[in-house]
Symmetry: C2
Subunit: 333 residues, 2 copies
């Protein structure tokens, strides 16, 4: 039986986001906000893209990871941390550990792309491989945590992680002022709930939306039914949003602060990736296209003059499959 690392933890507040911003000052990049005049003309609205693809490690995850590691007890800082991820959370934890002098262990499937493993090791993390068909990564991580006294840093359901991610939203409001709507991609809900905390203080009238892949609509089911729904592992190009359930902490914030949770198809993600490349000159990973796709493909009803924030969460792609998606030689699954 593995103990949840979030037992007895409370959802963070905006004060935690403010503290996280101080922690991240001069460490995380203040990422740019980009706009497209042609899109704004087409929509009759103003859309602001907050580009976390330019964040360190190529995704917003660095904010939450660095904040969480900074807030560890000195015993845990000395012992080190463990996390399980084959994606952006892994690199974020690894780089944060390197910067803070905290040793990091990442539990990764044995068939993870070698480039991701190399990147994580490049930031100084120790990678522990597991067989995804016979072993459970959370159990391995929990065992390592127990055996070596390590702090387990979950990818989203942790107050310091949520507060760290919220600094992306805080920055956006500081950069462009209040908004009518703000759309944020959603897997476990760490980013959207953190950003919702920022909106609740910096732009109280702003309607907050989470955006998921159609195939992985657990957050929508949960939000609309009022209780956390767990789905089977979904298949989507948006590999950062194929969680099976949101967390109890993220869900508490979502319930209180979101207007709705929207979904978009994988085909819409591909078209949005192509639009980003062609019109914005940006490489955006599929998960990073979720919020933009909801704006451009009609998931959100745009009213004239509306000011809309869109979180572009990351730009880490496998060049081979990215190239194929750009060339149109493979379709969305």
């Amino acid at each position: 039986m593995v103990h949840s690392p979030t037992v007895a933890l409370k959802p963070p507040t905006y004060a935690d986001v403010e503290r996280a911003a101080q922690t991240l000052e001069g460490v995380a990049h203040r990422t740019p906000v980009l706009t497209s005049q042609s899109l704004n003309k087409t929509l009759g609205a103003e859309v602001f893209f907050k580009c976390e693809s330019f964040q360190r490690t190529g995704a917003f995850k660095f904010r939450g990871a660095y904040n969480a590691l900074s807030n560890l007890s000195s015993a845990h800082k000395k012992a080190g941390v463990v996390a399980y991820s084959s994606g952006n959370h892994a690199q974020a934890i690894a780089l944060s550990g390197q910067l803070l002098g905290i040793s990091t262990t990442i539990v990764m499937p044995h068939d993870a792309p070698s480039a991701k493993r190399a990147a994580t090791e490049g930031y100084g993390a120790q990678v522990v491989l597991y067989d995804r068909y016979t072993e459970k990564r959370d159990e391995i991580a929990a065992r390592l945590a127990e055996q070596h006294g390590l702090a387990l840093i979950p990818p989203f359901n942790h107050p310091d992680v949520i507060a760290g991610q919220g600094t992306a939203g805080k920055e956006l409001f500081e950069q462009v002022g209040e908004l009518d709507a703000f759309l944020v991609c959603m897997g476990g809900g760490g980013l959207v709930s953190g950003c919702a905390l920022a909106a609740s203080v910096l732009s109280p009238a702003c309607e907050m939306y989470g955006v998921e892949p159609e195939a992985g609509n657990d957050g929508q089911l949960s939000f609309r039914s009022g209780k956390i729904v767990t789905i089977d592992p979904p298949r989507s190009l948006a590999d950062g949003a194929v969680t099976t359930a949101v967390g109890d902490l993220t869900f508490a914030i979502m319930q209180k602060n979101l207007k709705d949770v929207l979904t978009v198809s994988d085909q819409a993600l591909v078209e949005t990736m192509q639009w980003f490349a062609q019109r914005m000159k940006l490489v955006v990973e599929p998960t990073g296209c979720l919020a933009a796709a909801a704006v451009m493909q009609g998931g959100l009803a745009i009213k004239p003059g509306m000011r809309v924030g869109v979180l572009v969460s990351g730009g880490n792609v496998d060049l081979a499959s990215y190239g194929q998606l750009m060339a149109g030689s493979i379709n969305a699954s």
Copy 2:
């Protein structure tokens, strides 16, 4: 016999660049300067990428085109302008005309990609097609100019075009201060000569380099021999730099202000495009990779602590071939 439009024109000075900057204020984007911590660590230097891929129309060409159109006589403003280009200059002229209320005619090969033709027409230009096997575009443009009293705006060999492009360099020095070296891609030399004017005043000790594709080394041959050399039409992925000769105005500035002209292979361009996508999350067209490739592939000898400016000229790509280059499914020619 077609009269050159540059007869009796003198090379611009830095004062012209300053005037162009005033003209472009609030019209052209002040494009961002991006850096890569991992590249800087690898090189032991500081490299500043001036990203004109984020300029209006996706390339620096807008600066020169808008400046040139703004400075036309009122008779020419009324009559309109003509230009020949199948690439970034066409869209730059078209958008500038639309913004200034000047009618524009673009002479384009009949087999130009339909997307480029559509983009140019989308900015309100009239497109005149010609058969590239039986007709000469400069003669057609000159005839149109004569028949309708249009001003012919050449792509690089014009004082107002050079001064406009120079504002990109001026901005870079304002954004990051003085530099030890500044590398700029080079076709006809409009951008590098404009930037050299900016460097000569804002960072006098900065060594200026033009960078060409290996196959199109007319600028290198000209610079090193001291007279303009014309080559056969070169073949390179860098389609914005396949000119056969630099202009007399650009050459005069180059001779006085450049340290050297470097060349890079098409294979280096592909690797640099991939690096931009993977590490910087930027879509950069092949021509836009010339200067960066010279820095990353050893064309320029980097000394420890050196501060190096790199002009990223544009991000306009055909998605199909871009995707193939990213996926590695086609090689450099």
